[in-house]
């Protein structure tokens, strides 16, 4: 299975569609691509046209699009929810449980927020009531995230796939926090392993249950099948060598969107060959 870089969106600059300080998160939904960076949300079409942008209250660290196409932006100690066309719909705060929110996911009517300060994933119901933590049954002190970002994704069955960079693996959790399994191991040579001190840094899942991860220090993006076997290396030379914590998103057509945090651009990789038809 192979991927080609088909588009670069954004880049460093002063134009409206570009960024000048930081680019942190990407999410797809409803045929649109949302990115957060420079304390703003910018919405692009899949062709790369800027459809809209608005400011966020604080610099946004992560972004997600829910079933109603509202845009959730994770920030420091709060989450802001915007209507699809902009305009603040809601703000979630939880002083004891929300530090830096580096990932947002939705499953079974609940909202999952990754707190990178305390290093847990918190589960809330749709009204904002805290239900339980994810991950605290199997370790003390939180996920080991030396890179400062805790990332996870939820698949169609409601299973959370959490990137655990300190242990070089992707772990699967049920919504109530039960560890279901994990895959991945350290390997500095074999591409199916995770090299370096702390990889994978970010993770996302596509509609078929495949897991896509991004790594740093030798930045690259890889695709694993649901059993944990390496399916494809999407790109290992397309990013700036210093990029880390590259957020990922997959759209409905299987295109992978990767944030290059140094060049401040969104790289879009399309699958080539018959896979696109499947």
């Amino acid at each position: 299975m192979e991927y080609r870089l088909t588009r670069r969106i954004g880049g460093k600059g002063a134009a409206p569609h570009q960024f000048h300080e930081a680019l942190r998160g990407v999410a797809t939904g409803g045929g649109r691509v949302c990115v957060v960076g420079d304390a703003a949300v910018k919405v692009f079409s899949t062709e790369g046209d800027l459809l809209g942008q608005w400011a966020t209250g604080l610099p946004g660290e992560s972004v997600a699009v829910d079933g109603e196409r509202r845009i959730w932006v994770g920030q420091r100690q709060r989450v802001e929810v915007f209507h699809p066309k902009g305009g603040l719909a809601d703000t979630w705060r939880d002083p004891e449980r929300l530090g830096l929110v580096t990932a947002i996911g939705f499953g079974g009517g609940d909202v999952f927020l990754a707190d990178a300060t305390a290093r847990w994933i918190r589960r809330y119901d749709a009204k904002g009531r805290f239900r339980n933590n994810i991950g605290d049954r199997h370790r003390k002190g939180g996920f080991d995230i030396p890179n400062g970002v805790l990332d996870f994704a939820i698949d169609a069955q409601g299973v959370l796939h959490v990137a655990n960079p300190g242990m070089h693996r992707v772990e699967r959790y049920a919504a109530d926090g039960t560890l279901l399994g994990h895959f991945g191991r350290f390997d500095g040579r074999d591409p199916s392993g995770f090299p370096g001190c702390c990889n994978p840094t970010n993770v996302t899942v596509d509609g078929t249950g495949r897991v896509i991860v991004s790594e740093k220090a030798g930045p690259r993006v890889k695709v694993y099948d649901p059993a944990g076997e390496l399916v494809a290396v999407v790109a290992d030379a397309a990013f700036d060598a210093g990029a880390k914590n590259m957020d990922l998103a997959v759209d409905s057509e299987g295109r992978i969107h990767v944030v290059d945090t140094v060049r401040l651009e969104l790289c879009v990789f399309s699958p080539s060959g018959s896979e696109a038809a499947a």
Binding site: R139, D144, R185, D190, C197, G242
Partner: protein, 197 residues
């Protein structure tokens, strides 16, 4: 004869007095001006082994080879509060080496084996990867070659290891041989008590 003697004596005394006065003058002048000892320090923002943004460079070993003392006064220092305590430390292990039976790389970065690795804190006996590890550099072995510093640099690591001049070993030469050889001009003379940011 005695007059000559006396004149010579007087001249001798006068010359001695003048020389003493001269010495005293120089001493006084410099004494008022004297300040605390300055010592050689390395700026981590300029040192190529720790400078951010210089990715993929070869290690610069001049801190270990140029010092006039047999074991260089420059050592690698791990700022523990900034260390990630990772299970697989890229400065300890050579992460591109083959993986051994325990799942860890088989080779180490330090050619003198100066880094010690120990699990710390709450220990998970079933899963060694679920533990934190402290990496301590033995200064009696480290010679400041900079390999661990280069591997710890971001993005691979967190950049907690830097090269530092150890003032209790440094002779504080007028003309630091390493400072002359440093390609990035990272050496400067600073009051040694100023902590580096």
């Amino acid at each position: 004869m005695s007059q000559e003697h006396t004149r010579r004596e007087v001249l001798g005394h006068a010359a001695r007095g003048a020389a003493l006065a001269g010495l005293g003058g120089i001493t006084g002048l410099l004494w008022m001006k004297a300040n605390a000892t300055y010592a050689w320090s390395i700026d981590p923002a300029r040192c190529i082994d720790s400078k951010l943004g210089a990715v993929g460079v070869e290690v610069c070993e001049r801190c270990s080879t140029e010092c006039v003392i047999a074991l260089s006064a420059v050592r690698a220092v791990n700022e523990f509060s900034r260390c990630g305590r990772c299970y697989v430390c890229p400065a300890y292990f050579k992460i591109t080496s083959a993986v051994g039976p325990d799942g860890l790389p088989s080779e180490k970065v330090c050619p003198r084996d100066a880094i010690k690795r120990e699990p710390i804190g709450w220990i998970d006996a079933d899963d060694p990867a679920n533990n934190f590890y402290e990496y301590t550099i033995d200064e009696k072995l480290c010679n400041g070659c900079g390999r661990c510093v280069l591997q710890c640099k971001e993005p691979a690591g967190l950049g907690s290891i830097v090269l530092e001049v150890r003032h209790n070993a440094c002779l504080d030469c007028n003309r630091c041989a390493i400072a002359q050889a440093c390609p990035e001009n990272a050496f400067e003379r600073l009051p040694p008590v100023t902590p580096r940011p």
